[in-house]
Symmetry: C2
Subunit: 131 residues, 2 copies
């Protein structure tokens, strides 16, 4: 099963139902470190799995590989999610928000997303509402 | 219907099924601007609505009000979501991730989350996967 992602930095892409519009990745608002937060969500269940950061290079790699690639702020290196664990995240779609400063990437998660063994990195609650 | 949120900076809270553990908000890893990204998700549908930023003050306000309160990086002010539009986000739960540097807040969204009139801020796709 070969995966192909329509994704380009400058070609005409169908955005939001409009016929075509030139979209350039550089229109995204990266922070002063050149990073943009990327929310990773299970495309089937809707579960939010993690939040990572990408720069233009890792976003292009994510596109090319069809698997998420992040910039690790702590290790200061590119990081293909699942490369060592096998827990890859296969990309289903990439969306950006109204301010163009955040991404929402829907994925098919192999295994678990969190290094602790939990399915999602958000496995601890600090508040629960009582109605 | 009165809403009450269990939330405190220092009291014993039941975290992740363990009996009790002292949780201090200051254990969260805020960035050098004192901010932490907060993913806002519809608690019913699982739809990711937006990404905002909070500091300790806005997180405490979120807790106290039971509605999301953010720090606006562009306007440099606190911002109770829905205060002008009426589109409040009533907090259902707040979780933090394994690195303690991101929040996932599940809410009941009144109306729409995005100022454009879209339900979610992530209404535009730049990539769609073909399998």
């Amino acid at each position: 099963m070969k995966k192909k992602i329509k994704f380009n930095t400058s070609t005409q892409l169908s955005v939001n139902g409009e016929r075509s519009r030139t979209f350039n990745l550089k229109n995204l608002r990266f922070d002063k470190h050149g990073l943009i937060p990327a929310i990773i969500q299970d495309y089937m269940t809707g579960e939010v799995l993690m939040l990572g950061f990408m720069d233009v290079v890792s976003l292009k790699r994510t596109s090319k590989l069809g698997r998420t690639c992040f910039w690790s702020r702590s290790r200061k290196e590119y990081w293909i999610k699942g490369k060592t664990s096998g827990n890859y995240q296969f990309v289903k779609s990439i969306a950006y928000d109204c301010d163009m400063d955040a991404l929402l990437i829907k994925v098919r998660q192999v295994g678990v997303a969190c290094h602790t063994g939990n399915r999602s990195c958000f496995y601890r609650k600090i508040a629960k509402c009582k109605i």
